[in-house]
């Protein structure tokens, strides 16, 4: 009985203990509920914040960049989405192992990869704009901490075609050169923000509000360039440059009616897909940034000025003094000795003395006004970055010999684009048009957002004078002319050869071994459609403009006329040698195209001539660009070094103009361009050595 009672008691105690333990469990569960309640009420705000910072992110993305297309819509620059590989080094446990796994898919070395993977930063790029198959392979490896994101890569499908015009973009999609830079804002498109939820690997999972990506896409830019003509021009000058082992070459093709730049070629070439393989000199668009002395190419403008002033006619005769003439203590020469030449013949044989005498008939002041009026010494307004105005001294600074020099194209500098625009003014009946490279800015549906209409700068000469000059220029490419190699079958070509001496930058004297061979012309001479400028820089072996540049002109002009659908004219309407053209009213009035936008009439835009202005008023605040003018090269270099830059120098003598202008706020970094010129006439003499006809 007693033991039974003990048993009962023991059992009761056991139950008490069991109940106690069970109560502990139940209390434990109650504790869990309490803890969760605490976390979800008291701590909720702080924890929500932590959650939000890791979960929701405002992702800023750059929209697709707009394309660049040529005048026919052919894509010159496009943006394609490509994968980029990144790593979050902190979530990588074994950098060596992962590096070995990644190495076959990446374009890098093992050591570099290990270093990146073991770095302390939160985020590193392993390879930007990788090949899609590599990216896929890396995704399949599934390494935590390694991710792929899509970025837009700029791609130039025609490779080096128009490379310098297009320029290029940086890895982050900012236009750094050329059109890409000029119209960066238009093409870049908007950045848009998305509020996304991200998973632990940082991949966006859910977009809380999905924007319509296309709404943010950048505008496309339509150029006036015709990719096919550009190809022809590039090939033609490349061939000439190679054949004559030249330093480089330029070609500009212009539509004379609208000023459209149909092609602008630049050798050596530049492929914006492979920026790293080139140096900065290669991507300069030298057609607008490089100046040179035009030489004989300039003579038609002298003729045009005199005809417009009616001081001469095409048949006026000039005594060319047997090819030697003394001017102010210097002798100017013709290559071939002539005694009497008509004004037209002076063009044909490219007589320096004759050209000087024509210029003398109108006087230096009027002559200066005309060449300014043709656009020399000022920017064309094409709007391309780094365009140089060229250098043209005002007439009151001309010594007599300088006047003679300027009359045949030495002692002043110009750019190919400037020359092309001026020549187009002769070709189209006297109207100087602003060269046009951007036709329109298009939105993503191809609708025009902004149109860049052809712009008339001013009328320079009358249609009759223009026609006379064209006729005289057409003599250049026929029997007895200096540019017979520029002739095209079926068309009359009006043109002018040029062989200019270059100043050797080391000796600062005209160097008998450095030449610039050029040909400038338009076709058909009777009813011009296109202007072609070809300049070959420092050809070796041969330097006559007609021989070196002429064939390239012929190729480009022939192909361009074909591509533009210009048919040969009937024989009776073509110019006849030795017979002045009869003025045909209809042909003489090439009215400006309806779309041409007329600028207010202005004769000379002197304000554009940089460096020759009076000093502007000094403004307070901020460092200013100092005035380099009138400094010697040595002084200028020293001053520039004080500013921590080394200027690019053109010419020799004293500084006559500078870019940026004196008194402008000091840009950082300072890219300084100084144009130098000799103070006296000394050294301004140059000879044109040959007519260019082959012996």
């Amino acid at each position: 009985m007693r033991s039974q009672g003990d048993d009962e008691k023991a059992r009761k105690w056991m139950k008490v203990r069991m109940g106690l333990i069970a109560s502990v469990f139940v209390l434990g569960f109650v504790g869990v509920v309490g803890r969760v309640y605490y976390l979800q009420t008291v701590e909720a705000e702080a924890l929500s914040k932590r959650s939000a910072t890791q979960l929701n992110r405002d992702v800023t993305r750059q929209a697709r960049r707009g394309n660049v297309v040529d005048r026919n819509g052919t894509e010159l620059a496009v943006s394609v989405e490509v994968p980029s590989v990144f790593a979050r080094p902190r979530s990588i446990e074994n950098p060596e192992r992962e590096a070995r796994r990644l190495l076959p898919h990446l374009n890098t070395t093992y050591e570099a990869l290990v270093e990146k993977l073991s770095s302390q930063s939160n985020f590193v790029w392993l390879e930007r704009q990788a090949r899609p198959p590599s990216a896929e392979a890396i995704t399949n490896l599934g390494i935590p901490g390694i991710g792929i994101t899509n970025e837009f890569k700029r791609y130039y499908p025609l490779r080096e075609r128009a490379g310098q015009i297009l320029g290029f973009v940086g890895i982050d999609g900012d236009g750094l050169e050329g059109i890409e830079r000029m119209l960066n804002k238009e093409m870049a498109g908007a950045t848009y923000q998305m509020n996304v939820s991200r998973d632990a690997q940082g991949r966006p999972m859910i977009t809380n509000e999905t924007p319509r990506f296309r709404d943010f896409e950048g505008y496309s830019v339509q150029l006036t360039i015709d990719e096919k003509i550009q190809a022809v021009a590039e090939a033609a000058i490349a061939r000439q440059v190679e054949q004559f082992s030249a330093r480089g070459g330029y070609a500009v093709v212009l539509d004379v009616h609208t000023g459209d730049i149909l092609a602008m070629a630049n050798t050596p070439y530049f492929d914006p897909n492979r920026v790293g393989d080139f140096i900065s000199d290669d991507w300069r668009l030298r057609n607008v940034t490089d100046t040179f002395e035009p030489g004989s190419i300039f003579k038609p403008f002298v003729l045009a000025a005199a005809l417009q002033e009616k001081t001469i006619t095409l048949n006026s005769t000039f005594d060319c003094e047997g090819g030697r003439m003394r001017v102010g203590g210097y002798t100017i020469r013709d290559v071939k000795r002539h005694n009497t030449l008509t004004a037209a013949q002076i063009q044909q044989v490219s007589s320096n003395i004759g050209s000087y005498k024509i210029a003398q008939t109108i006087g230096r002041e009027r002559y200066y006004e005309y060449i300014r009026s043709f656009g020399f010494g000022g920017r064309t307004g094409v709007g391309l970055r780094g365009e140089q105005p060229g250098m043209l001294w005002p007439p009151d600074r001309w010594a007599e010999i300088s006047f003679a020099n300027v009359a045949f194209g030495q002692g002043l500098t110009t750019t190919p684009i400037q020359l092309a625009a001026a020549t187009a003014a002769i070709a189209n009946g006297g109207m100087l048009l602003k060269p046009r490279i951007i036709d329109a800015v298009l939105d993503r549906d191809g609708k025009i957002v902004r149109h860049n209409p052809p712009t008339l700068v001013r009328r320079v000469i009358s249609p009759e004078v223009a026609r006379d000059v064209a006729w005289a220029m057409s003599l250049v490419t026929v029997e007895g002319g200096t540019g017979q190699r520029a002739a095209i079958e079926g068309f009359t070509v009006a043109g002018k050869t040029g062989t200019a001496q270059k100043v050797n930058p080391e000796t600062r004297r005209y160097d008998p071994n450095l030449w610039m061979a050029g040909f400038v012309g338009f076709a058909p001479a009777e009813k011009p459609e296109i202007v072609v400028v070809v300049i070959i820089d420092e050809p070796k072996k041969m330097h006559y403009g007609g021989v070196v540049a002429g064939p390239a002109f012929a190729t480009i002009a022939r192909e361009t006329l074909a591509l533009r659908g210009v048919f040969p004219m009937p024989e009776e309407q073509r110019f006849q040698v030795g017979k002045r053209p009869v003025a045909q009213k209809s042909a003489l009035e090439p009215a400006a195209p309806a779309a041409v936008f007329m600028l207010p009439a202005m004769r000379v835009l002197d304000s554009e001539s940089d460096g020759l202005l009076e000093d502007g008023e000094e403004e307070q605040g901020g460092p200013k660009v100092p005035d380099f003018r009138q400094m010697t090269l040595r002084q200028a270099m020293r001053r520039a070094q004080d500013l921590g830059t080394s200027p690019s120098i053109e010419g020799w003598g004293r500084v006559v103009s500078q870019e940026p202008k004196a008194g402008d706020p000091l840009p950082v970094p300072l890219v300084l361009t100084l144009v130098l010129s000799p103070a006296s006439g000394q050294g301004l003499i140059s000879d044109e050595p040959s007519t260019g006809t082959l012996q």
């Binding site: 056991m14 069991m18 109940g19 869990v32 509920v33 701590e43």
Partner: protein, 416 residues
């Protein structure tokens, strides 16, 4: 005070005891277990679908895997329901030896598979198998057997304390070789609970707890990994980039969702933020997606499970059944509590699953098996084996005599 509590608990039970002994097993317990398993499967899918889709090629992979285990577990549960629990008492030593063999096997390189730095499981017919889960159940069975056998002698040190410590200590030693700290602590805690319940002297238990605490201190300070876990537990935010990451993310997921939760399927912890969300940290997603109600539901189910288990233990006449029922109940209660405390940042992370809910084959199968045993105890069936012993012995004697008779008959025939 405690006697009052005791009477309130025991009185109604005592009156019922006679009424529904033999009345059938505890269907309420089964319902609770099924609800827990169902909740587990739902939350498993919610937590693992994204990960499974990305890494395993199908959002259902983990769910299907777990469903197989649940089916297998239910088969075992049914089996255990039908097998008289007293058989475990009779077979306890072979089972113990089998468990030790499994624990040793998993340590042999080539058989045991190393994962996350611990050699805890091996592959068995295409399924991963964790001997530690088996060890928990056999340990409980052994303790129940031993404790019930010793009865009043439990107060003695040599009889009531040392043998249990040796057997459990041996298993814990094997577990620590894996190493499996969480399961080791579980086994020791279960031992302490059963010894306490069965009347071991509190001074011994206290002393043991003290030495255990010292040992644990050395085990922790000797291992940088465990030390870091403790540090991460004390201040998860400053270890957020490494060891405290999981617990930090768990707290963020729970707290940021608010009292009402983000709604089923809307959780964000599953986007890779909370590692092992479908496994040890399934409590996190329940709190995150279902809010405080989910947690009340979950904790409530476990509390009910404990209550039903306790009820079964109290209503069992047989001391072994009573201890076994309580041991199994304690196993569930203790592990569930520990897991939920870890998930809510009240204990350092140990790697314990939430029984019957978490993803994990061995845990689920052994859990359902243990529930089957518990259900069988709830039948409170008479010990047919013992009751029929005389009859059986008689039959055996009869058979023996029959054989002998036949032999004699045959030899007689031959002689003839």
């Amino acid at each position: 005070m405690s006697t009052d509590l005791l009477t309130t608990i025991t009185r109604p039970m005592a009156s019922e005891q006679t009424d529904d002994s033999e009345q059938g097993w505890d269907r309420w317990l089964l319902l609770i277990v099924l609800l827990l398993v169902a909740l587990g499967l739902i939350m498993l899918y919610s937590s693992s679908a994204v990960m499974a889709e990305q890494r395993m090629g199908g959002h259902l992979v983990l769910l299907q895997n777990q469903l197989q285990k649940v089916v297998l577990g239910m088969v075992l549960l049914t089996g255990a329901l039908c097998v008289d629990y007293r058989w475990y008492k009779r077979m306890i030593y072979p089972m113990l030896i089998g468990t030790v063999v499994l624990l040793v096997l998993v340590l042999i390189p080539g058989i045991g598979i190393i994962q996350n730095g611990a050699q805890r499981w091996f592959s068995l017919g295409g399924m991963s198998f964790q001997p530690a889960e088996v060890a928990k159940v056999t340990a409980v069975m052994y303790l129940a057997y031993s404790v019930s056998k010793k009865g009043k002698r439990m107060g003695s040190f040599t009889i009531g304390f040392v043998p249990h410590l040796l057997v459990i200590g041996f298993m814990v030693g094997l577990l620590m070789l894996q190493p499996d700290f969480g399961s080791s602590v579980m086994l020791l805690a279960l031992m302490m609970i059963l010894l306490f319940v069965s009347g071991a002297k509190l001074s011994y238990l206290f002393m043991f707890t003290l030495t255990g605490a010292v040992g644990a201190y050395f085990a922790i300070s000797g291992s940088e990994y465990r030390m870091k876990r403790i540090l991460a537990f004390l201040d998860p935010w400053s270890h957020r980039q490494d060891i405290g990451y999981q617990i930090s993310e768990s707290l963020i997921a729970i707290g940021a969702s608010g009292l009402y939760g983000r709604g089923l399927g809307n959780g964000t912890g599953k986007l890779g933020y909370v590692p092992e969300l479908w496994n040890d940290f399934i409590g996190t997603i329940i709190a995150e997606e279902l809010g405080i109600f989910g947690i009340v539901f979950l904790a409530g189910l476990f509390a009910l499970l404990v209550w039903r288990g306790l009820r079964i233990a109290f209503r069992c006449d047989d001391p072994f059944g009573m201890y076994l029922a309580f041991g199994i109940t304690a196993m569930f209660g203790l592990q569930a509590m520990a897991n939920l405390w870890v998930v809510t940042g009240m204990l350092p992370t140990k790697g314990l699953t939430l029984p019957l809910v978490s993803f994990g084959g061995s845990s689920m199968i052994m859990g359902l098996f243990a529930i089957g045993v518990l259900l069988n105890i709830s039948r409170n069936a008479p010990d047919h084996w013992e009751l029929e012993r005389e009859e059986r012995d008689g039959e055996r004697l009869e058979r023996r005599w029959e054989k002998k008779r036949e032999k004699i008959m045959r030899s007689r025939d031959r002689r003839r």
